[in-house]
Symmetry: C2
Subunit: 484 residues, 2 copies
């Protein structure tokens, strides 16, 4: 635990910081403090100041001073995380990186040089304009930042074929919790000089250092895409079919699954059935990407697979038709709030070999808990979003949701899966960390934390301290990135 800093020390350090960096960088007005008090978890704790650096070196100044006085510092991008990872749970300073948002594409080398506050969607567009492709695509990509994506090693729909954020980070620049500037890796695709602190930082949720800049690897943009929507008799059939597809060495760029409950949500929201005459069937939405020649071969394999396994399939002949198929996926998430006013969105992973067993178990959990648990996700990497819906005002449902999430986490670990595939731990998953990791593993992670952040100032209270998110009050705010 970090030393609690006194209000006197905190206020005087904030004044020192304001003198050093100016009132345009160090903010203490109520509106800024309120806005930085929560992220998409809607858990809220007011910080003493919001620092928004406009130059990289200011990050070092903030951390050096914070380290000297033991002041908690919570790094922040847009705050789209659902895990509470950006909530300044111990107060102190919020380090807001949104003003550092430069993007430069090295079109020849296929590298993007970006600052932490750059928006992922903007990086993708800048890359595309130069004929390159940046695959990681969390659903928050039009809001979330590269820094935030690095902090939780964000994934998205392209993970199965292309990988996640980690797979595209070539080098990082940033600051240790002591305020010292460091560079991990160079703008070359190989680097084997010294311990790999670049990758240790990736996914460290702003607890081991603050990223200011990243070099990202790009890949040639696929020339063509082809989209197919398939429906299945039930979830077990859909999962079995997915295994058959991967077993046949087909690598779709995207392979999104929606269970019958997610499909029902989407169908209600769209006021139509996806496959006429077959309402509420689980679907798999596939996208192939590659050269025209590649796709021509792969299409035939996928269509043969669909005829053998699916009860229905529909091919998009144009980009507009593909968009209409994608509408199903986009509608399902927001429409879930018909089933409850609170959601525990768990981004677990399940190994391929356990898919059917998990589908059967999840159906039993629904029956036992008497809760709606619509589930969708990325089948090519086993990353499923299990959405446990409940009503905050109904005590039975609250208890059932808490029991259901604990049972879910135990089950995925027992199956050889992970409690988080792409969201990270933050506050929300802290009760489950020790299901995933043995005492020795937790001790090793804490030892690394203490080694790099001896005063425990960087994003304190996260990962290791247990926080029962389902008992925490939430602020009533809506975000532009809420699924409507």
């Amino acid at each position: 635990m970090p030393n609690k800093v006194s209000a006197r020390v905190l206020n005087s350090a904030t004044e020192v910081l304001r003198k050093k960096l100016g009132a345009k960088v160090v903010h203490t007005d109520a509106a800024m403090l309120e806005a930085a008090s929560y992220d998409s978890s809607r858990i809220s704790v007011r910080p003493a100041a919001v620092v928004r650096p406009t130059k990289r070196a200011q990050i070092g100044v903030v951390l050096e001073l914070a380290n000297k006085h033991g002041i908690p510092v919570t790094p922040r991008g847009r705050g789209t995380t659902l895990m509470g990872s950006a909530v300044p749970i111990q107060g102190g300073w919020v380090l807001d990186l949104l003003a550092l948002d430069k993007i430069e594409i090295d079109a020849e080398a296929g590298l993007a040089h970006v600052q932490a506050g750059a928006k992922v969607g903007d990086v993708q567009r800048a890359a595309a304009a130069a004929g390159w492709f940046y695959p990681p695509d969390p659903s928050s990509k039009e809001y979330s930042t590269i820094g935030g994506n690095i902090a939780c090693n964000a994934g998205g729909m392209h993970g199965g074929k292309y990988g996640v954020t980690r797979d595209f980070v070539v080098a990082l620049k940033g600051y240790l919790p002591t305020g010292e500037f460091v560079e991990w890796g160079t703008a070359t695709r190989k680097f084997a000089a010294g311990f790999n602190l670049r990758d240790l930082w990736i996914g460290s949720e702003g607890m081991l250092g603050v990223v200011s800049d990243a070099v990202l690897r790009l890949i040639p943009a696929p020339a063509a895409r082809w989209t197919l929507l398939t429906s299945f008799a039930d979830e077990v059939s859909a999962f079995r079919a997915a295994r058959a597809l991967f077993g046949a060495r087909v690598q779709p760029a995207i392979c999104e699954f929606l269970d019958r409950y997610s499909v029902e949500c989407a169908e209600r929201a769209m006021r139509t059935t996806i496959f006429p005459g077959q309402p509420g069937k689980p679907v798999i939405l596939l996208e192939l990407a590659g050269s025209e020649a590649e796709l021509a071969d792969a299409k035939q394999a996928v269509l043969a697979w669909a005829r053998a396994h699916a009860v229905g399939h529909r091919e998009a002949k144009t980009r507009e038709e593909a968009e209409s198929l994608w509408a199903v996926r986009r509608k399902c998430s927001g429409a879930m709030f018909q089933m409850g006013d609170a959601k525990l969105n768990e981004d677990i992973t399940v190994p391929l070999g356990a898919y059917e067993e998990f589908a059967v178990w999840l159906e039993q959990l629904r029956v036992k808990s008497r809760l709606a648990i619509p589930t969708f996700g990325h089948l090519a990497d086993g990353n499923l979003h299990v959405n446990i819906m409940y009503h905050k005002a109904a005590p039975r449902e609250c208890r059932a949701a808490e029991r259901a999430v604990l049972a879910l986490m135990k089950k995925v670990v027992a199956l050889g899966g992970a409690i988080s595939g792409e969201h990270g731990i933050g506050l929300a998953k802290t009760p489950f960390l020790r299901m995933q990791h043995s005492p020795a593993q937790v001790r090793a992670m804490r030892a690394v934390k203490d080694a790099l952040d001896p005063r425990g100032i960087l994003n304190p209270g996260k990962m290791f301290d247990v926080f029962e998110v389902w008992k925490a009050p939430r602020v009533a705010v809506s975000f532009p990135w809420d699924h409507k």
Copy 2:
């Protein structure tokens, strides 16, 4: 620095270990000790025992006892490393992982479950038999182990398109220096739960933990390959041409460069000129991989590029012809010993944008040092093998080689490159670590080392302690993997 262990403590601990694990696991005969005293660096220090576990849990027993008594433990695969990383420089115990060599392919999920001692070539063949492909291919692959490849984050010729070992490691099992068993990651392609100690272990040269098992990601085997040998007027033209190729978004599976000196070595060894009438021209050897349809498109682009940039090109029409083109690459390395009986083989990286500048500078270095410095390497990821050749008995050449290697390292760091792309630091690159890394970076790496290995028992004396390899005596041994 670790506490030096007394001979009495070491001998009695060795006896305890032998009682625990048996004489078939704990070896102290002279032949075993001698063979484990060196790696391909040929620097030699006798250990007190060689421990070759036949069961995973024995690794924990070794480390727990070593940690208790402060005994140096040097993990070891085949010892193909050129860096001295496997030399037990402070004595103690060598932990030889060769007997743990199981390989299991999960053909459906496209994953290889392997033990640390499994040979890389065997993993590739097992994957290929199941229709999958494991791309990392260091030239030592018919000898080197997965554990060793993970220890130095080995690369090889496929790095530019497919990535290096790190890019294929999904999960690791192994032991902390304290002997505690840990698992980093699960057999799923996404994992965002806790700090990423999996990747911290990758490339940590056996200094932060001992890997016993790995889960490796496989990719669908490319259906077809196509090979083209191209020659260029000079090195600068070759480098400029490579930049044009990548800038055109062509991603060859392999893009090997040999400078004129490497080509001359190969031509002398093969007693023929590669392009008749054009002896001693630098070459680029390209291989495209993919579906037949993909290759058909890419071939046309590459041939157009060759006509525009190369002074000669030759396409392989059959696999046999491709093999004969590859013979050039394989011959060059061994033939270099015509130019000196000692070689400093430096696997530096250079950013794409600095290719021509580096070529000009390297030619100046040759003139100034009056040494042969044949250079070849992997152009798609900027990883060049710069071979500084000298005669051990010639004092001028020894001094010139030492000065040349220091100048080389300064230059690559100044260009934004790396002192090692795929070999690691070991002993041989310790004099250059602080050129690559600032004092803050080195402090952070050491802090991580001390946090995970508080008694400093695991592969001590490497990375941080400066060792001037060019002054060290070498044993006269030859290895099956020496380039002939």
